[in-house]
């Protein structure tokens, strides 16, 4: 498993990006975040900065808190009633845990794509139009334009343009996932969170989604959780390695994979556990 090779293949893109990084601003600043499910602490003293127009990958073994962390970024984790948090997450200058911070607002600006594709049981068109509609866009023309643009943005337009009125459940898993991405693009978010977006997909669909992520990062900041280290290496700019609810290491992806500074990181990426 020639991880180093994979990483090297990406070098060219990387160089460019590396230069740009100094100017990039921080979108999310996580400051000493702790999170408990009831009495079980799932996240411990997380400090993590997420940068604009980058792909940030989060890796780690099962149960280490990856999903929990990414769901905290748009406060979806609060849907579980037992959850308590401490610490801060500063998004665009404001602490999202502040009283009076509108959670609907946050989620409008921070899109999310889930592990299992979860389209609504409606037509393809209605799936994409859902977001704009609830935000008050009624005009048919505008909606049409948004739907087209989003589906194009999610690289699925050509496959579905002739059957926009059909139920989304008729699509294959990979198409559904890209539809969910389109749905998320339709409200033009600032950040896109992705929780193992390809783990339920076949290899070809996975490849498509990966390419799409590379494309999307030009416009959006992306945080992606993945089980698959090759995937992290292939597509991300930075990688955070989680273990037992802690961030063991957070660095540029090439650095983390080629020269991890923590023994545990090394053990993990060389497959000694997990």
């Amino acid at each position: 498993m020639e991880m180093t090779k994979v990483v090297k293949e990406r070098k060219e893109n990387e160089d460019m990006a590396a230069n740009a990084q100094k100017e990039k601003s921080i979108v999310y600043k996580t400051d000493n975040l702790n999170l408990w499910y009831g009495n079980d602490q799932a996240l411990k003293n997380i400090d993590l900065d997420i940068y604009e127009n980058e792909v940030t990958a989060i890796i780690g073994p099962s149960g280490c808190g990856k999903s929990t962390y990414i769901k905290t970024l748009n406060r979806m984790v609060e849907l579980i009633p037992t959850v308590r948090t401490s610490g801060k997450i500063i998004y665009r200058g404001k602490n999202i845990f502040d009283k009076g911070y509108g959670v609907e607002d946050l989620r409008t600006r921070v899109g999310m794509v889930f592990q299992k594709p979860n389209p609504f049981p409606k037509s393809i068109y209605e799936n994409v139009a859902y977001g704009p509609r609830i935000h008050g866009i009624r005009d048919k023309k505008t909606l049409d334009a948004i739907v087209e643009k989003s589906l194009k943005g999610a690289a699925i337009w050509d496959e579905v343009k002739d059957r926009l009125k059909e139920n989304a459940y008729g699509l294959s898993g990979g198409q559904q996932q890209r539809l969910c991405i389109a749905r998320c693009l339709a409200i033009e978010p600032d950040v896109i969170l992705m929780d193992e977006p390809t783990s339920a997909l076949d290899p070809i669909s996975t490849l498509k989604v990966e390419e799409l992520v590379q494309e999307l990062k030009k416009q959006y900041s992306i945080v992606i959780v993945t089980h698959n280290m090759q995937q992290a290496a292939r597509i991300s700019d930075r990688t955070a390695f989680f273990l037992n609810g802690e961030v063991v290491e957070y660095a540029h992806t090439d650095k983390l994979f080629s020269n991890p500074s923590d023994k545990r990181t090394e053990d993990y990426i060389t497959g000694r556990f997990g």
């Binding site: 989620r107 899109g111 979860n118 049981p121 609830i134 998320c184």
Partner: protein, 313 residues
């Protein structure tokens, strides 16, 4: 792991196996017995249909089927000129059912939405059993409630309202079926996958938008099925309308008038004076048959709906 003892267990198993040949017959007898129990439910239906049909046929030998369907009056007790227009009882039945649905549908659905989308786990755990108590209250208790509380209350608001009317029992039947709608719809809504809700919330939806635009459409088949079942229950309800609806068969759709439903008629006759062998006696079976067909239709409809519109998720 001593091989010696290991040998003994596999051998033991083999040994026991030979002795336990009766197990084979159990495996055959059990499904046969279970099939028998399942067949009893079919026999029940057969029994019901036969009971109804035999007497209904006798009834129609005395009263022409055409009269039964086309006459617009129901006066079985006028010996000189009895009239058996079932439409009269049907209109009373439907009137009560419609009023009941007007009450129960919005309230039941709203409760279902509240319970499945807004209420905390704790609240749900308290309210659902209470609703079940409400559903389990004997209908005769509801009947007295309609008569002694709801009717006077309505009459204080609408002085013109008769002492017996379709409105009061209709409302109380509605109250009685609220739990049914609430609980069945809530089941349908909670079985909408979490992922669907998360998808909508992640787009910045409010809970109300999630409930109305995502959960409800996804659960619509279950919700509609609960409505239809509730209507069928309202149609079959007996004691409330017997007590508070009056016993005046009338072809009317005015809720302030006193009416009679199919069930109330059956109770009236079966607790009344009609002699065995009279036309009136047989008429309860014809009415029972009509009632059975009605509820059968509603149930088939409910099943059709929940099958036809079942969402794939």
């Amino acid at each position: 792991m001593a091989t010696e003892s290991s040998r003994s267990v596999s051998e033991l198993i083999r040994e026991k196996k030979e002795k336990r040949s009766w197990m084979r017959s159990t495996e055959k007898l059990v499904p046969a017995f279970l099939l028998l129990t399942a067949v009893i439910s079919v026999l029940t239906t057969v029994g019901i249909v036969l009971t109804l049909i035999v007497e209904t046929v006798t009834f129609f030998s005395k009263v022409p089927l055409l009269d039964f369907i086309t006459q617009r009056e129901w006066y079985p007790f006028f010996e000189s000129d009895p009239a058996y227009g079932i439409i009269t009882l049907i209109s009373g039945t439907l009137l009560v059912a419609v009023i009941a649905m007007v009450v129960a549908l919005p309230i039941g659905l709203a409760s279902a939405i509240y319970l499945s989308e807004y209420a905390s786990d704790r609240v749900r755990r308290i309210i659902k059993p209470i609703l079940e108590v409400l559903a389990g209250i004997p209908t005769i208790v509801y009947g007295f409630f309609a008569l002694t509380f709801v009717t006077p209350l309505l009459r204080s608001i609408m002085p013109d309202l008769g002492f017996f009317n379709a409105l009061s029992p209709g409302i109380v039947v509605g109250i009685m079926i609220i739990p049914m709608i609430a609980s069945l719809s809530e089941d349908a809504m909670t079985s909408v996958p979490r992922a669907m809700r998360e998808g909508a919330l992640a787009l910045g939806s409010t809970k109300f938008e999630v409930a109305i635009k995502v959960v409800l459409p996804a659960a619509i088949s279950g919700v509609i099925a609960s409505f239809v079942l509730a209507i069928s229950r309202a149609i079959g309800e007996t004691m409330i309308v017997t007590l508070a609806g009056g016993a005046t068969p009338k072809l009317t759709f005015d809720p302030t008038e006193s009416i009679q439903t199919m069930t109330a008629y059956i109770v009236q006759v079966s607790s009344g004076d009609a002699g065995y062998g009279t036309t009136i006696y047989y008429s309860i079976y014809a009415v029972g048959m009509t009632l059975f067909l009605f509820t059968l239709l509603m149930n088939l409809l409910a099943q059709f709906i929940s099958r036809r519109f079942r969402e794939e998720y």
